[in-house]
């Protein structure tokens, strides 16, 4: 009996390992020896199996948008997209360092600067949504459309506020809002989390405090949170996403062709249409609104 059990467990372990090795339909990530052969040089014609590294924000990942879009892109073009979800600041740095092939972030001013400095080939609008201030339904900030007033009140009364604290697009937007009010947030009420949007929402939820979030991530997590939208619709809460292919002069490992294909697909009619569909079925409204060329 013991011997049988041993062999069964051993068999399961081997099966698991072997199936981990089994060639997958996507690009052969498990066969490192093949990778140099599969990565095309920037100037060669499109190969069936190639990959690009997309550095993007945690909000595009946590909302589920990329899980929805990318398989369609891969099926149509044969290009596999390796999504590395970090904060916008991080993603822009990866662009400067040439560690990624294309960036999808939401900090327009910094994006334009990146292209100006020559690190990116071009920058295009892709989609937008808005930020909202969320907080406890029965909290001291009552629902309204003035983000400045709400933040000022939070600062004055020392209400719990959780900041992303990670140089992300959302963090930059938040800091910009404080700056516009000439407030430097500090004190025990101001929590700098250094985490992604999903995690920060959970922290805010636990402490029944306030946080600035993009609407998409909030909607995706809404059922697990006891936070409500407290401020929305303010002009200052507009959240624009942009795409930047990284400048291939950084090195021959940059997949310029793949990056441009991805950008072209996202701003194409098909890509824009798909973006406008995402979330409608589940949440009744699109989480991101396509706006290339508008």
């Amino acid at each position: 009996m013991k011997k049988t059990l041993t062999y069964v467990l051993l068999l399961l372990l081997v099966l698991g390992t072997v199936s981990g090795c089994a060639p997958k339909t996507e690009a052969p990530a498990e066969a490192p020896a093949n990778d140099p052969a599969e990565e095309p040089a920037a100037e060669s014609e499109p190969v069936v199996e190639e990959s690009i590294i997309l550095a993007t924000t945690t909000s595009t990942q946590d909302s589920g948008l990329l899980d929805f879009l990318l398989p369609i892109f891969t099926e149509e073009t044969g290009i596999e997209v390796k999504t590395i979800a970090v904060g916008t600041g991080n993603a822009l740095q990866m662009g400067r360092d040439g560690e990624a092939d294309v960036l999808l972030v939401h900090a327009k001013a910094d994006e334009l600067k990146l292209v100006e400095e020559g690190h990116g080939t071009v920058r295009n609008d892709v989609m937008y949504n808005d930020f909202v201030l969320v907080g406890p339904a029965d909290g001291e900030i009552i629902y309204g459309n003035d983000i400045g007033a709400a933040l000022a009140a939070i600062n004055e009364k020392g209400l719990q506020f959780v900041s992303r604290g990670d140089d992300s697009g959302t963090h930059k937007k938040e800091l910009g809002l404080w700056k516009a009010l000439s407030i430097e947030p500090a004190g025990e009420w101001y929590i700098e989390a250094g985490a992604g949007m999903g995690d920060v929402l959970k922290i805010a939820d636990e402490r029944q405090g306030y946080t600035l979030t993009d609407r998409a991530t909030y909607l995706a997590l809404k059922d697990t949170l006891q936070l409500e939208v407290v401020v929305e619709g303010d002009e200052g809460l507009f959240n624009q996403y942009g795409i930047i292919p990284v400048n291939p002069n950084k090195g021959d490992m940059i997949n310029e062709a793949g990056a441009l294909k991805f950008m072209d697909w996202l701003i194409s009619e098909e890509g824009q249409e798909l973006i406008s569909q995402f979330g409608v079925e589940e949440y009744g409204e699109p989480l991101f609104i396509p706006n290339y060329g508008k």
Binding site: T17, D97, G198
Partner: protein, 230 residues
């Protein structure tokens, strides 16, 4: 509270229904951690045994260094490996970052001190009398090493199982060098972490259950094997 129960229910459904994403994640975890443990063991078990019985200068510094590295935080290993494998890093041309190969490399480096340290310690304490026997019978050092491995194989196996546990349960190294890419470098630990972030508790719980089952399975294996040998 009912969201936990609901999570469990959905977890069972995902596992019983052979949800392909869940099983792919499990398979990759097993591949990465098993490969890392096997590679580290094949090289460093014999080495550890050998160093345990061979007198050399600086044994104290050696053991202290190895024992220190045994508890190195996995994120540090991840960070160092990622810096080396980054495009502008010395090994960037291999294009290994964000692949399972990089994850195996990182986990191998992570468990090497553990295998080396535990085996060295075992050999030092229990290997010497065995070495003496081997010498008496006319064997050289290689014969001694082989004898020690055969005699102490249960203890060595336990050490290897410990190393495997360390590998399969860590999240820092595989997160940094793998990137948690869906369908490619997502393993149980990184998936659980991300799903918790996204509020997808059923998947997180399903993977948590599997992680425990795998751990339990491995150690039951070792136990049955050791029971039979006695």
């Amino acid at each position: 509270m009912d969201y936990i129960a609901q999570g469990f229910g959905e977890a069972i459904r995902l596992l019983a229904g052979f949800d392909s994403e869940v099983y792919r994640i499990i398979a990759l975890s097993l591949l990465v951690s098993t490969s890392a443990t096997v590679v580290a063991s094949l090289i460093f078990v014999p080495l550890g045994v050998y160093l345990g019985i061979k007198p050399f200068r600086g044994k104290r510094i050696f053991s202290r260094t190895v024992y220190t590295f045994m508890s190195i935080p996995s994120v540090i290993v991840g960070l160092v490996v990622a810096l080396l494998l980054a495009r502008r890093g010395p090994f960037g041309y291999l294009r290994l970052l964000y692949t399972p190969a990089a994850m195996i490399i990182a986990q191998t480096i992570l468990v090497i001190p553990l295998i080396l340290g535990l085996t060295y310690n075992l050999s030092k304490n229990r290997g010497t009398p065995l070495e003496k026997v081997s010498r008496t019978l006319g064997g050289n050092r290689l014969d001694s090493v082989i004898l020690i491995i055969r005699e102490l194989k249960i203890d060595i196996l336990v050490n290897v199982a410990t190393a495997f546990s360390r590998a399969i349960s860590e999240v820092g190294a595989v997160m940094i060098v793998g990137g948690n890419i869906k369908g490619q470098t997502r393993v149980m630990t990184t998936a659980i972490s991300m799903m918790n972030s996204m509020g997808d508790y059923p998947m997180a719980i399903a993977l948590g259950i599997i992680l425990l089952v795998v751990s339990f399975g491995i150690h039951s294996l070792i136990y049955s094997y050791s029971q039979e040998e006695e």
